[in-house]
């Protein structure tokens, strides 16, 4: 299969063809020239031989003819000499003059030889004259050139034929295979399929086959190696991709920090969630520069533990967010070597909310158990209290002079009821009895109050506008009149921030009113009894909608509470007020009204010296049920 287009293209075959042809032509020219020169020399030599022959064979008879002065004979002899090749002119010189001649004397491209004509006689040898033979050199040259032309033509034809044969053979034996190999490589480069290189010929075990075989073996090995490498690479890529995904998606903040200079070398997306700094901005920065540690000495402690153990499983510390907020976090750290540098990986988890919920759960649990404990105690107290109360009522009844039965019984033993009455009064027994009765009633009312909240008075539930309830509570507070009270609402600036119309809540209006009133009274009392009293007492009432709830905040700017009191404010019977000023039930009753009675939430935040805020959250009634 020969590529017919190969001749027209700049192919190796074509280049070779032209080079071989040119070289052969040059050589042919050279050889022809040498041959021509050799021929020319040969012809000249044959002319010499001719002259010798003439000298030997003809000179004698020409001399004889001259000796005899036989002009006719001489003419015949000279004509005969012209038959020798290349001899164009012959002349006989006698006594310095041309005696006879034949042929054409052209004087150009000729060479003349002179042969002495001598006659040998008895008396010696006599020099008669000379025979001048002129040879036509042009003829010799012409003959030689004709030879060159013939040879050259022949050689050229040989060269042409040889070159063509060589071209075709080279094409068939080498070039078409090289072309197909080239084609194979071109294809293999664009589609790396499992192709094997093969030649379109029967196997010959020659250099091409050896090369193809070697190549195939090499490429097989290379393919295997490539496949191994590819698999390894893919595995690596997959592992890297999944690592990167895990790293970025992890809800925990993960950072790599260089040990030598505390620079963050890597941080994931959760870093921003926890610290407020974007991971991109943080990488390359010093931990101290970001001011993440509220107590830098805690970090020193962490590093000390890390260096001692190589890892730290749980390390709790306070982290400062970008906005300055302090969060409780727990970190797990591990020393690692990344790219030859000592680093530590730190997985940080924000436990602030968890802690808060835990505290709230504990609080709620505590409150619930205290509530039921109180209920149980109340129940047990009520019976003896009933006895005390009943007994004192009986006493009062049976010492009363108005009672007919009393008078009868007194008369039977000769006792004057009026005197008895006087005695009771003079010894204040009547007061004691009333005191017992009052104390019993007060105790029972405390218990009643304490346990009232556990009654779910569903029937009194209605849809309420919290703004109205707050207004009502503020009104009640301002008109609240109590001789014992040490505060005056007129001195307190009450700021109401109600916002837009809040959604309605299903609640017992009087109960919520009582809770808010209670909070207002507590705030007023706290500010008034503080030492020194709060200079510009102020209570902020804020109403907000938070998700599915309405949130009421009652915030004062009073003395606040230390944490140990803040933790206990909702406990029953816990009070900071002097004896007689409070029962310690107001807030716990409020707490139960909100949490148990209304499925809401109630909590407190306080900062000593800055004030206290109580929060109430009540679930909002959804539209459809509100309309139902």
């Amino acid at each position: 299969m020969m590529d017919t287009g190969a001749l027209g293209k700049k192919t190796m075959s074509r280049r070779m063809l032209w080079r071989v042809a040119l070289l052969s032509l040059g050589l042919a020219l050279l050889f022809s020239s040498v041959q021509a020169w050799v021929t020319y020399r040969g012809e000249l030599e044959s002319v010499g031989n001719t002259l010798d022959e003439i000298r030997k064979t003809q000179a004698r008879s020409i001399t004889n003819a001259l000796w005899d002065f036989n002009r006719e004979q001489l003419a015949i002899q000279l004509e005969g000499l012209l038959n020798f090749a290349y001899i164009s002119h012959v002349a006989v010189e006698y006594d310095g003059k041309t005696y006879a001649e034949a042929g054409v004397n052209t004087k150009e491209h000729v060479r003349t030889w002179s042969i002495p004509l001598a006659q040998t006689a008895h008396s010696g040898t006599f020099q008669l004259g000379h025979l001048h033979v002129t040879v036509d050199l042009a003829g010799i040259r012409k003959e030689a050139v004709a030879g060159i032309a013939r040879n050259f033509l022949f050689m050229t034809m040989m060269v042409a034929v040889n070159s063509m044969v060589l071209f075709v053979l080279f094409e068939r034996m080498v070039m078409r295979h090289i072309t197909s190999i080239g084609e194979y490589f071109r294809k293999a480069a664009s589609q790396p399929a499992d192709l094997r290189l093969s030649l379109n010929r029967r196997p010959m075990d020659d250099e091409l086959d050896t090369m193809v075989d070697a190549y195939n073996r090499l490429s097989q090995e290379r393919e295997k190696a490539h496949a191994r490498m590819h698999a390894a690479l893919q595995e690596k890529e997959a592992s890297e991709a999944s690592f990167s995904l895990i790293f970025q998606m992890a809800p925990e903040c993960i950072t790599f920090v260089r040990l030598s200079d505390s620079v963050i070398t890597m941080a994931n997306a959760a870093f921003e969630t926890i610290t407020g700094h974007s991971a991109r901005a943080a990488v390359g920065k010093d931990v101290h520069e970001l001011d993440l540690w509220v107590r830098p000495e805690a970090r020193q402690e962490l590093l000390r533990q890390l260096k001692a153990n190589g890892q730290v499983k749980v390390f709790e510390y306070l982290l400062r967010r970008k906005d300055g907020e302090e969060r409780q976090v727990v970190a797990s750290c591990q020393l690692v070597t990344v790219a030859g540098e000592q680093c530590y990986i730190s997985v940080i988890h924000d436990i602030t909310d968890q802690r808060k919920i835990q505290t709230m759960l504990i609080e709620s649990e505590k409150m619930t158990s205290m509530g039921s404990l109180a209920a149980g105690i109340a129940h047990e107290i009520n019976n003896p209290l009933g006895i005390v109360h009943q007994a004192v009522q009986n006493l009062i009844l049976r010492t009363s002079p108005e009672q007919k039965k009393n008078r009868e019984a007194a008369a039977a033993i000769g006792l004057d009821m009026d005197l008895l009455q006087q005695y009771l009064r003079s010894r204040k027994l009547d007061v004691f009895m009333r005191d017992i009765q009052d104390a019993a009633l007060r105790a029972s009312s405390i218990i009643r109050n304490m346990l009232n909240f556990s009654r779910r008075s569903e029937s009194k539930r209605q849809l309420c506008d919290m703004r109205h309830i707050i207004e009502q509570a503020v009104f009640l507070a301002s008109t609240d009149y109590d001789l014992k009270k040490s505060y005056d609402f007129k001195n307190i600036e009450i700021v109401k921030d109600m916002g837009a119309q809040p959604p309605l809540c299903r609640c017992t209006e009087t109960e919520i009113e009582q809770v808010i009133l209670n909070l207002l009274r507590n705030a007023a009392q706290a500010m008034a009894t503080a030492n020194p009293p709060t200079p510009n007492p102020r209570i902020d009432l804020r109403l907000r909608v938070v998700e599915q709830s309405v949130r009421i905040e009652v915030a004062d700017n009073g003395p606040g509470m230390p944490p140990e009191i803040e933790r206990r404010v909702f406990e029953p019977f816990f009070t900071t007020k002097p004896p007689g000023m409070g029962t310690g039930l107001g807030l716990s009753v409020s707490y139960f009204i909100i949490t148990k009675g209304h499925s809401g939430r109630m909590w407190v935040t306080s900062e000593p010296g800055r004030g206290t805020s109580f929060f109430i959250e009540l679930p909002v009634v959804r539209e459809e049920s509100a309309n139902a």
């Binding site: 209920a375 109340a378 129940h379 009520n382 019976n383 209290l385 009933g386 006895i387 005390v388 109360h389 009943q390 007994a391 009522q393 009986n394 009844l397 049976r398 009672q403 007919k404 039965k405 009393n406 019993a440 009633l441 029972s444 218990i447 009643r448 346990l451 556990s454 009654r455």
Partner: protein, 116 residues
Amino acid sequence: MIVDDEERVRNLLLEYLSDFDEFSLFEAASGEQALELLRGRPADLCVVDMRLPGMNGVSFIQASSEAGLCRKFLVHTGSVDFTLTPELASLGLGEADIFTKPANAKDILLRIRAVT
């Protein structure tokens, strides 16, 4: 009839009411005992504690009411979270018939006078 498992509670109320000479009073420490006594002598009114050993106050009221042993009942209980249940309401009791210990004896007296 005063039904209460606590003797002193029972006695004190009994003593109080007896001073008025308006009622013939008798007492029982449990619902079962009260039913026993009522079978011998039906009553106009029973003051009943709710928490009793054996049958509770509600069962006693139901039983004695159905047996026609008593017409009217007052509840006198230490259980402050006790409310008027539908069963009690169906037996003709109202809010005014429920007294929580420690109750004002005078109120009980006035209520007894009002309903008998």
